[in-house]
């Protein structure tokens, strides 16, 4: 019970921190970078559902983010569709394409699945780059409109967009929380822990995996839609597999298969890369070894490690309590024993 309470307190504290953040930083640049980190956090949340909870490494995740972003870009710029309709369609489009990709790719076992999704990612990237007529090719899409206002609230400043994105992130977290704590969420984890066992327990493998995949890429699609409205320029590089690698790093740093891990990882690594600005293109010089060292020495990430320590301490407390109980019982028995004899 106290665990639940502290969880809620932490969540409220995090939301409050997010709300006051723009007022404690010196300028808009900090707000801009943080909002970008939130967008990537939403995408990483989706990837974590597939990677951390269902145990499949989907290397096309950045491609689905690109699909969402390009859906918004193309619809708003070339067809004059209002932003929020395009926003919804971005998620729908990513989910629909994800459904098709999922049906095919999820029939494959682990590494086949990863290679296959890597190929899907490359195909999406190449198509975006070569299909000038639809995607504007390497020139990219410019002048994407900011999200239109809802009622009296307008989203034409960085600050307003920051709050919009923060709200979306909170919503994404709440929905993800509901998903992973539902029966379906348990089914995802059962698949991660062992497909034959999950199947034996009556989990319909294919349907559950496809469901996880579709939800996962829908997150990517919505993140892409927010990205398009926020950055307001799109190029093919958003679909590059290095983008998917970045998201994997976010998840690993924060904690694989934890709810808040991807968010914490995205925020920390985004700021780490910002402070490594002087490295410019050599950013990957730090990123690559970081990935390796993390899987070698801290595979559970920050949140995972904290949770494991908490669990260990709770376990020690419980076993200590059990030991005391046993000793008390034993001494009680000891007192009784002579009476029996």
């Amino acid at each position: 019970m106290s665990g639940l309470l502290s969880r809620r307190t932490l969540a409220v504290a995090a939301i409050l921190a997010g709300l006051v953040y723009p007022f404690v930083v010196p300028n808009d640049y900090f707000v801009y970078v943080m909002a970008l980190a939130y967008i990537y956090a939403i995408a990483a949340l989706g990837l974590n559902l597939m990677l951390g909870y269902t145990g499949h490494l989907n290397l096309a995740h950045a491609a689905f983010m690109a699909i969402g972003a390009y859906t918004v870009g193309i619809l708003t710029v070339d067809y004059g569709v209002p932003y929020w309709i395009a926003f919804l369609l971005a998620g729908v489009n990513a989910a629909a394409l994800g459904f098709v990709a999922g049906i095919i790719s999820l029939r494959l076992k682990h590494h086949y699945f990863s290679i296959f999704t890597l190929c899907i990612g490359i195909i999406v990237w190449l198509v975006i780059e070569k299909w000038d007529g639809l995607t504007h090719g390497v020139v990219g899409i410019m002048g994407i409109p900011a999200p239109t206002g809802i009622g009296p609230i307008r989203f034409d400043t960085t600050l307003a967009q920051y709050y919009l994105i923060l709200a979306m992130l909170a919503l994404a977290l709440v929905v993800m929380d509901r998903i992973v704590h539902s029966l379906t969420g348990r089914a995802f984890m059962a698949i991660r822990n062992g497909e034959p066992l999950a199947e034996a327990l009556g989990v319909p493998l294919m349907r559950t995996k496809v469901l996880s995949f579709v939800i996962s890429v829908a997150y990517a699609g919505f993140a892409g839609a927010l990205y398009a409205g926020f950055v307001r320029f799109l190029g093919p590089s958003i679909a590059a597999e290095t983008n998917a690698f970045d998201m994997i790093a976010f998840i690993l740093v924060g904690g694989l298969g934890t709810l808040s891990g991807p968010v914490i990882g995205a925020i920390m690594l985004t700021w780490a890369t910002q402070s490594l600005q002087f490295l410019q293109d050599y950013r990957l010089l730090v990123f690559g070894p970081l990935l390796i060292l993390l899987v070698m020495f801290m595979p559970k990430g920050i949140i995972g490690t904290l949770k494991a320590r908490q669990a260990r301490e709770a376990g020690e407390r419980a076993s200590a309590a059990r030991r005391e109980q046993a000793e008390a019982d034993a001494s009680a028995d000891g007192r009784k024993a002579p009476a029996h004899a």
Binding site: L57, I115, C119, I123, I248, L252, G288
Partner: protein, 291 residues
């Protein structure tokens, strides 16, 4: 008709390069049981090593080739010792992520040293093969001949090594059954190191053969490695003949696709072929080989 044979020749050239890369990948798969995403970085490292040897050290082409093979084999062995051997008992996901980390690291190092610009390695024997042009009307640059011949020689050498020597037999044994091989006294560490060395050397040779007719840049390995993945899925993960055959098939498909369909889409064709084949046959074309 000669146009047709021209495409066959081009396809065989590409196929030879792909096969060599895929061979290394498939051998390492036998040891690691995961796709080594960093293999493409070895291909790139081989090209840069040869570039370094021929420009900074003034070595001739063949010396540069050997130098590149040795250096890249060293990098591959280092990656096995420092990273993969330490992750042996961890879930396969960890190996895959570590491999991605290695890929990013090696690529970043190359970019830090040589920059993102394109470099060239001069053709050791410029010009075309006159005999073929006069007798068959085919244009075959000598370098393409060297690629095909070099690949064939290496494949035969590898085949003899794997089937006729004890060390080769231990590699195959390890790929077939790690526990069984360890039980009969095969040293896993030694076999892993040899396999990684061979795979690195093969990638480097493939790169050095290929770069005189292409370019050297930090991301040059990415598309090649992806195609090598396609190949080993088609040919069966861990299968040596599958890697060779698959490489040739993809090389030919690409060269015909570029000629008869569209040059722009030639890179998409290989992946589209994979998506199509895996959609119809999730177990690959030669499921017997796949483990």
């Amino acid at each position: 008709m000669s146009l047709f044979f021209q495409q066959v020749l081009n396809g065989l050239t590409l196929g030879s390069v792909y096969s060599l890369v895929a061979l290394g990948l498939t051998l390492v798969y036998g040891i690691l049981h995961i796709p080594n995403f960093s293999h493409g970085a070895l291909f790139m490292a081989g090209a840069y090593a040869a570039f370094f040897a021929s420009t900074a050290l003034g070595a001739n082409y063949w010396v540069a080739l050997v130098f590149a093979a040795v250096v890249t084999a060293g990098i591959a062995v280092l990656s096995e010792r420092l990273v993969f051997s330490r992750l042996r008992d961890k879930p396969p996901l960890h190996d895959m992520i570590a491999a991605i980390g290695l890929l990013l690291l090696i690529e970043a190092i190359a970019q830090a040293i040589w920059g993102a610009d394109f470099h060239r390695l001069r053709e050791p024997y410029p010009g075309i093969w006159q005999w073929l042009r006069i007798n068959a009307g085919l244009v075959m640059p000598i370098q393409r001949g060297i690629i095909i011949a070099g690949a064939v020689v290496l494949m035969i050498a590898l085949h003899l090594f794997l089937t006729r020597t004890t060390t080769g037999a231990t590699i195959i044994a390890m790929a077939q059954n790690r526990e069984g091989a360890s039980l009969v006294g095969i040293d896993l560490t030694r076999v892993s190191m040899i396999t990684f060395a061979i795979s690195g050397a093969l990638a480097a040779v493939a790169a050095v053969l290929f770069v005189p007719i292409s370019l050297i840049f930090p991301a040059m390995g990415n598309l090649v490695i992806l195609k090598a993945f396609v190949i080993i899925i088609l040919g069966g993960m861990g299968s040596v003949p599958g890697a060779i055959l698959g490489g040739m098939v993809i090389g030919l498909v690409e060269s015909f696709g570029a000629f008869y369909v569209s040059t722009d889409m030639k890179d998409v064709i290989a992946f589209a072929a994979l998506v199509l084949i895996l959609s119809l046959r999730p177990e690959g074309l030669f499921p017997g080989y796949a483990r």
